[in-house]
């Protein structure tokens, strides 16, 4: 029975993913085509160019190829497992993505973990101390975070910790002027800390507020009342009955936050000149590098989808109660 359920569930998900990829790729492609961007013009910049050279460039950037043909060509290649060549970087899209995605992944994974842990702890504390100054302080902090633009926070962090205090390197992912073989893990970590903290600070707010809300709800439930009647109290009570019940929904929410993580990463990477997928995505979008942009869109779609999928699995298989609760409300 369980297996059957799982099979149906996976099949549904796979069909959904394929459908999603098709829709997303068509939508992004259409947007790029609609954009009043002339990639040749951007490539040329302010350079003067002779009509003959312009024709050559238009050919290269596929300006005069009908949109439908371009898209079908691209899809045809995808089905052969070829993402095509990036027009900007003049190398295979898969290579560009490989290079960049690894860097981004490290950044996003560490930020994701950090924000989950800090957010959860803050939420628990705020929920326990509901209504006290601690709670108010945490709430205020979260509201401020929610209202803070990522890039601005990144700039402030850079100014304070790198420029004035000199604790951290200024941007980049590796130390300046050091040969690759001499770069230690510590060096890499040092370059990762500031972008990670910046990125995780922003993820903290949502998870903290959610956890707080949930905990307050749990703490006013019958079974907690019963536990209290049995003489349990304070921290032990929260740990045994509160945290346990709040953890799962919080984790679920954290998985759903993949998309925001992605968006935040793009901005943070720009400020810290951290060479991730974000930078490449911005370039590809602005300059109509269709193969690269679509490649990145596909990868990020899969990425966010996986996040949601994990949340879904937790939802359905790990804790069916969540589903029941949903049904009741």
């Amino acid at each position: 029975m369980r297996h059957e359920k799982l099979a149906v569930f996976s099949l549904k998900k796979i069909i959904k993913l394929i459908f999603l990829l098709v829709v997303v790729s068509i939508a992004s492609f259409w947007l790029v085509e609609q954009a009043p961007i002339d990639p040749v013009k951007i490539y040329i910049g302010a350079m003067s160019v002779t009509p003959e050279q312009k024709a050559i460039l238009e050919d290269y950037w596929g300006v005069n190829t009908p949109a439908r043909e371009k898209y079908l060509n691209w899809v045809g290649n995808i089905l052969k497992g070829d993402l095509g060549d990036s027009l900007i970087y003049r190398m295979p899209v898969s290579d560009v993505i490989k290079e960049r995605f690894t860097a981004s992944l490290v950044l996003m994974a560490s930020a994701w973990l950090l924000s989950g842990i800090i957010g959860f702890v803050l939420g628990i504390v705020a929920g326990m101390k509901n209504g006290t100054w601690v709670d108010k302080a945490i709430k205020t902090y979260c509201y401020i975070l929610l209202a803070t633009p990522t890039f601005w926070l990144a700039l402030v962090m850079l100014l304070v910790f790198s420029v004035y205090l000199g604790w951290f390197p200024i941007g980049l992912g590796v130390p300046i002027a050091v040969a690759a073989e001499d770069v230690t893990l510590l060096d890499r970590l040092k370059h990762l800390i500031l972008p990670t903290i910046t990125l995780s600070l922003l993820g903290v707010a949502a998870i903290a507020m959610f956890t707080r809300e949930k905990l307050i709800e749990v703490m006013s439930s019958d079974y907690v009342l019963f536990a209290k009647a049995r003489g349990e109290k304070g921290f032990g009570l929260v740990l045994r009955h509160g945290v346990r019940n709040v953890a799962l929904p919080a984790i679920t929410l954290q998985f759903l936050g993949f998309s925001e993580l992605f968006g935040g990463a793009v901005l943070v990477e720009q400020v810290f000149s951290y060479p991730g997928l974000g930078q490449a995505a911005v370039e590809a979008g602005i300059r109509s590098d269709v193969p690269l942009l679509l490649g990145i869109v596909l990868i990020s779609t899969v990425f966010v989808f996986i996040g949601n999928l994990i949340a879904d699995i937790i939802y359905r298989f790990v804790d069916p109660r969540i589903k029941q609760q949903e049904m009741r409300t």
């Binding site: 312009k54 050559i56 910790f161 992912g173 300046i176 800390i193 921290f235 720009q270 400020v271 000149s273």
Partner: protein
């Protein structure tokens, strides 16, 4: 029973502090900042990272020193052409065949000799790939023996010399699709490492045929301009390109260097009237105010360029009259006396532009002398110049409404509306595309003002098709002003050139950067890298 919780909070606080202070190690483990023969340069504003790699065939090093590769020729500080790989060149009588002989002591970084075949390969390959290098005039390059290359052109073209200056030579036997990721050439520096989006590291080439560079290691860090300034302030880089906003900053152990460029900033003044004609996309063509030569001349003569340089640009620039003042093909005769308000007003009055309703703006036949001036809203230097010009124009009775716009909008409006542009090309083809009547193309930046003067056309055509640059220079100059007509203010005044804008660098106190070569659009800071050294202070 609040204790455990407070304890928990305390733990979090301590953990936070520890995690941050644990890395409070003040020096990055590079040790390069003090090494005297190593340099770290932050670039990004201009000539940042070449996204398709360090491959001359797709445009790396076109207009600036390629470092890894060498070129056949170079331009010195006064734009004079000098031999590099080339030892000599001859051009056939009809200008169709260029024969270049190359030195026999140039070696690629792997020790293999650089031969004529590599040169021919480079040019044929570059012509076939849609990069930044326009080689549409080249029919083919052929190697004759090991030291002679013959370039066959489709038509005579004096400006072909610029292609020979711009394209670094790659080894034919080692050129693959991923050459740009791991380049090899015969230049003064050997490519070591490229961290994409971050930095590239070069090391001096001990077997270089030219003067051995003083700096044994160059690291170019790619950063946004504000980050670059912060990095310079923190002592992480030895030299950084910075925006004008930091011109007056004082940084310990560093100085600000303001490099003159040929990046000329000017305003287009559409020369044709607006007859209701529309472009293909439905945008107006021509302008009923700027189409009158009196308006164009009055602006050119009435505006005081020196005050533009000293005011809005804080002295980081130079006056500019023809757009190519500093170049060999600029015409000194075309330079004129400016800032003469009386004369400008006289020109307007004689042409019938008179202020009859007392609002301070002159008019003629019910048309007021007013127009909109567009600038790219992201460019602060263009904005300050535009505003200053509009203030000065008011005194002449001409009203200019200054408006920031996106490039997309500018592209559509440029055919009918004056725009602030910057041009700094070291190739005079630029002049041809700017003023030749047949260059006009609404989908392009070429000749947006729709300038059409048959005499100038003929000069430009002659200049382009001259067999060599020396002969061409004369025609280029005549196109600006031949005593009767021309594209400069003395002739038809289709542009209002204002100033050339300096590039600013923040540099180590003890770094001597010699005499920089001519700085085109995008800069060429490494153009004289072999002269750079540290001075004892």
């Amino acid at each position: 029973m609040k204790k455990p919780l407070n304890f928990l909070l305390l733990i979090i606080l301590i953990l936070g502090l520890v995690s941050v202070s644990g890395c409070a190690d003040k020096t990055e483990k590079t040790g390069v900042y003090m090494a005297s023969d190593e340099l770290v340069i932050a670039m990004g504003t201009h000539g940042g990272e070449p996204e398709s790699g360090f491959d001359p065939i797709t445009g790396w090093g076109y207009n600036h020193e390629p470092l890894v590769q060498s070129t056949l020729f170079k331009r010195g500080s006064n734009a004079v052409v000098i031999n590099d790989l080339a030892t000599d060149h001859t051009i056939s009588e009809d200008g169709m065949i260029w024969t270049v002989t190359i030195r026999d002591d140039a070696k690629f970084h792997d020790g293999m000799p650089l031969k004529a075949g590599d040169v021919a390969f480079t040019f044929n390959k570059a012509a076939a790939s849609a990069g930044r290098v326009d080689l549409t005039m080249l029919e083919k390059a052929t190697a004759i023996g090991d030291n002679t290359v013959e370039f066959t052109l489709r038509n005579p073209q004096s400006t072909f010399i610029n292609k020979l200056i711009g394209v670094g030579i790659v080894p034919e036997y080692a050129y693959t699709g991923s050459y740009g990721q791991n380049p090899m050439g015969s230049g003064p520096y050997i490519f070591k490492q490229w961290n994409k989006g971050q930095q590239v590291i070069f090391e001096a080439n001990p077997d270089y045929y030219g003067q051995e560079p003083y700096f044994k290691k160059l690291t170019i860090v790619f950063m946004e301009e504000d980050t670059a300034f912060a990095a310079a302030k923190a002592g992480r880089v030895n030299i950084a390109e910075i925006p004008h906003t930091y011109a007056n900053q004082v940084v310990n152990g560093k100085r600000i260097v303001s490099l003159e460029t040929i990046e000329a900033c000017g305003i287009t003044l559409p020369t044709g009237p607006n007859t209701g004609e529309k472009t293909e996309d439905g945008y107006p063509v021509g302008n009923n105010v700027t189409s009158d030569i009196a308006i164009r001349k009055a602006l050119n003569i009435g505006i005081d360029r020196l005050s533009l340089v000293n005011g809005p640009l804080n002295g980081h620039g130079a006056v500019e009259f023809t757009g190519v003042d500093k170049l060999p093909w600029g015409n000194k005769e075309a330079i004129f006396e400016d800032g003469n308000i009386t004369e400008a007003k006289r020109i307007l009055r004689d042409a019938g532009w008179i202020d009859t309703d007392g609002d301070g703006i002159v008019e003629r036949n019910g048309v007021k002398a007013e127009f909109t001036l567009l600038y790219a809203s992201s460019a602060q230097d263009r904005q300050v110049l535009a505003v200053a010009v509009s203030e000065q124009a008011r005194e002449l009775g001409i009203k200019i409404k200054v408006e920031g716009a996106s490039w997309d909008k500018i592209q559509n409006m440029a055919i009918s509306t004056p725009v602030v542009f910057k041009y700094g090309d070291i190739d005079p083809t630029d002049v041809y595309l700017r003023y030749h009547s047949e260059s006009y193309d609404p989908s392009n930046w070429n000749n947006m003002i729709r300038y059409n003067n048959p005499v100038v056309d003929a000069y430009l055509q002659n200049a382009m098709t001259s067999p060599d640059e020396e002969t061409a220079v004369e025609y280029w100059q005549l196109a600006a002003w031949d005593g009767e007509t021309g594209y400069s203010e003395k002739g038809d005044a289709p542009w209002l050139w204002m100033a050339s804008i300096n590039y600013l660098y923040i540099v180590d106190e003890n770094l001597d950067i010699g005499t920089p070569v001519i700085q085109p659009h995008g800069g060429n800071i490494f153009g004289n890298i072999l002269e750079w050294k540290r001075t004892e202070n």
